[in-house]
């Protein structure tokens, strides 16, 4: 067990219990929460845990902010989508799609890193924002290729067509890749990343080249996001701008990683689970609250407005700001205290 978690144990009983519950919940989801909707939620949780964990490698461990994470997520999704839609639903086109998208992500991550990470971290944040916006427009403009705003629907190889099989393939792949990320952050390489986050000047003085390590972290995170994109596309059997590239997903990822806890791989697990479940079920609750308050006096008219189900991001945004100020290590940090 200790080997499996790369020696990075939860270090808190409550956290350990929650993690076990999340894992068991995901493994047993098809049996304890029957229904298409809950299976969709479970698959999305699994994919987003991987996506957010790979983002945490950048934000929490290396201390650099990227806004291009959804771009890599999208490259994974579109790689599979285009290959399957244009070349038929065989294993060959699936493998080709996966390998092409991984290679493309690696190349782009390397280029962005080498171009912008040598100057300052803030430069990197701005450039990734611009490049991601460009990519989003590219995907909607090249509509012959990407299906434009409608996206691409495709068929999977015979073996993956069953919902249950597909779910367990996604879950297994996400688990293995998550454990691999855990291995990376607890390796000597991960320690160097932490030292760069804490004090870049000293790390450089000891003899670690900042650009090299940051660029490597960027490439690894990009590969993780691409893999998550592949899995999500496999689950949905669809790829489109709203499920992968949209800036809203980038904001969701930021919320998940900060609320869950930056700088630990368990934060993304908690953040993604809470967020995705809330996204699907909290809105029902808010609808009730908004309806219940709609009869109040007119000078308080904004109350049902603010409680409107579409406004749930408002409250998560407030929670996000509170987290950054008072709990920089998020829920996991609180639990470990």
């Amino acid at each position: 067990m200790k080997r499996l978690l790369s020696g990075d144990l939860p270090r808190s009983k409550v956290l350990a219990v929650i993690l076990v519950l999340v894992f068991l919940g995901l493994v047993l989801a098809p049996f304890i929460f029957p229904g298409t909707r809950s299976l969709n939620v479970a698959a999305k949780v699994a994919v987003f845990i991987l996506l957010v964990a790979s983002y945490d490698l950048l934000l929490g461990y290396t201390g650099i902010v990227s806004f291009a994470h959804t771009m890599f997520f999208g490259i994974g999704g579109y790689g599979v989508g285009i290959a399957m839609a244009k070349m038929g639903s065989g294993w060959g086109s699936l493998l080709l799609g996966i390998s092409t998208s991984l290679a493309l992500s690696l190349a782009i991550a390397l280029a962005i890193g080498l171009l912008s990470l040598r100057v300052r971290a803030i430069f990197f944040a701005m450039i990734t924002l611009a490049v991601a916006a460009f990519f989003q427009i590219l995907a909607s403009q090249l509509s012959d290729f990407t299906g434009g705003e409608d996206g691409l629907t495709f068929r999977l190889p015979e073996l993956l067509r069953g919902r249950l099989t597909a779910y367990y393939v996604v879950l297994a792949a996400a688990t293995v890749l998550f454990l691999a990320l855990l291995r990376v952050v607890n390796s000597p390489f991960g320690r160097v990343l932490l030292s760069i986050r804490e004090n870049e000047f000293r790390s450089e003085a000891i003899g670690y080249r900042l650009v090299t390590y940051r660029t490597m972290a960027n490439c690894l995170a990009a590969l993780g996001a691409t893999a998550a994109g592949v899995l999500y596309a496999l689950w949905l059997r669809y790829t489109g701008p709203d499920t992968t590239l949209s800036f809203n997903i980038m904001i969701d990822i930021l919320l998940m990683v900060v609320i869950g806890g930056m700088g630990t791989m368990y934060g993304p697990v908690l953040g993604a689970t809470l967020f995705v479940v809330a996204q699907n079920y909290l809105q029902d609750l808010m609808k009730l609250a908004s309806g219940a308050t709609s009869g109040i006096p007119s000078f308080l008219q904004f109350v049902p407005q603010v409680l409107h189900p579409d406004r749930w991001l408002l409250w998560l945004g407030v929670l996000f700001i509170v987290c950054v100020y008072y709990f920089p290590s998020g829920i996991v940090g609180r639990l470990r205290r």
Binding site: L59, G63, V65, L115, S116, R118, V119, R120, A121, I122, F123, A125, M126, I127, L129, A130, V131, A133, F134, I137, L138, Q141, F247, I251, L254, L255, V258, F302, Q305, V306, H308, D310, R311, L313, L314, L316, G317, V318, F320, I321, V324, Y325, P328
Partner: protein, 323 residues
């Protein structure tokens, strides 16, 4: 000498586009449109770059000030729309000026609130600044939804500045000329304040070396709040003008423009107002020429421009001392 090389780029770009566009009247129309767009982007970007230069804060929520300015102007314009029917210049101005004033005031008040409540606790920590300003962006974008609704608001443009006039064979929209004039006035005013007044002297000194200014007894904090509020107000003005240009307002517009604003700030060099001006004009011209020649590549061409500039000068056209 090297300070003047980037200036040459603007006419160079315009001349290079002439044979590609082919016809002179079209080229004139496109150039005026590009300059107008550049001026509006400059108004939105100048506050951002100045704030970064002075206090090392990159505000990712700057787009909110742009949106709020646009909504402020839209509210006044739609409420007072009746007075515009006459179509006289005075009647139009009596609506336009309050609208623009409302945009600037609203954005400036929000800027003050933003600095005071959100950014003040996280000075000196880039990572937290980015995260906090992103959080502010999420919250305030949602608040815009609460106050003004999520739908697009169509914005009537006052009669005196709609339509176009003919110069030679080229049709030139009046609004674009107005935008260029306002942009030039703002740039000139900023240049005068920064280079000819005591406050400007302090701001420039603060960009170079804040500790030294502070040790001479000036409250750099107060100076910074002032610059932040002024920058937000300018973004509001830019947003209002951008909204009238597009003739519509959406909650996402600030964020959409912000990408271009970032490109401009990077091209100009983080913290440099002059660089921001040159960068904005380059981006505006580039966007209009490529929009005509190859519409699908419009934003891509700006990314290309940014990469080329960074390969030539890795820290932007006019790198500022400490950046």
């Amino acid at each position: 000498m090297s300070r003047h090389i980037p200036l040459v780029l603007i006419p160079l770009l315009a001349l290079a586009a002439l044979p590609l566009v082919g016809s002179v009247p079209t080229w004139v129309t496109l150039t005026v449109a590009g300059l107008a767009m550049g001026m509006m982007i400059f108004m939105m970007a100048s506050g951002l770059t100045l704030v970064f230069g002075l206090m090392d804060v990159m505000n990712f929520a700057h787009g909110i000030f742009i949106s709020v300015g646009a909504y402020g102007a839209a509210t006044v314009l739609t409420r007072m729309g009746g007075q515009m029917q006459g179509g006289t210049l005075a009647g139009d101005l009596s609506v336009m000026l309050p609208a623009v004033a409302a945009a600037i005031a609203l954005a400036a008040v929000m800027g003050w609130f933003f600095e005071r409540v959100l950014i003040r606790p996280v000075y000196g920590d880039h990572l937290k600044q980015i995260l906090i300003t992103m959080g502010g962006l999420i919250v305030f974008e949602q608040l815009i939804h609460v106050v003004w609704g999520a739908d697009m608001i169509p914005l009537p443009r006052p009669g005196a500045i709609t339509g176009s006039f003919i110069l030679g064979d080229a049709a030139i929209e009046r609004y674009r000329v107005a935008a260029v004039v306002v942009g030039l006035v703002v740039f000139a005013a900023m240049w005068l304040v920064l280079n000819r007044t005591r406050i400007g002297l302090l701001v420039r000194a603060g960009v170079e070396n804040p500790e030294m200014v502070e040790s001479l007894g000036y409250r750099i904090r107060r100076l910074f709040v002032g610059v932040f509020v002024a920058g937000s107000g300018l973004a509001g003005l830019g947003g209002a003008m951008w909204a009238m240009y597009q003739e519509q307002v959406t909650p996402q517009m600030g964020m959409q423009v912000l990408v271009v604003v970032f490109i401009v700030v990077i091209i100009g060099g983080l913290g440099s107002v002059g660089g921001c001006f040159v960068g904005a004009l380059l981006v505006g011209l580039m966007a209009n020429y490529t929009g005509f020649l190859a519409p699908k590549l419009a934003l891509g061409s700006n990314i290309l421009l940014m990469v080329l500039v960074l390969l030539w000068r890795p820290r932007g056209l006019y790198p500022v001392g400490k950046a």
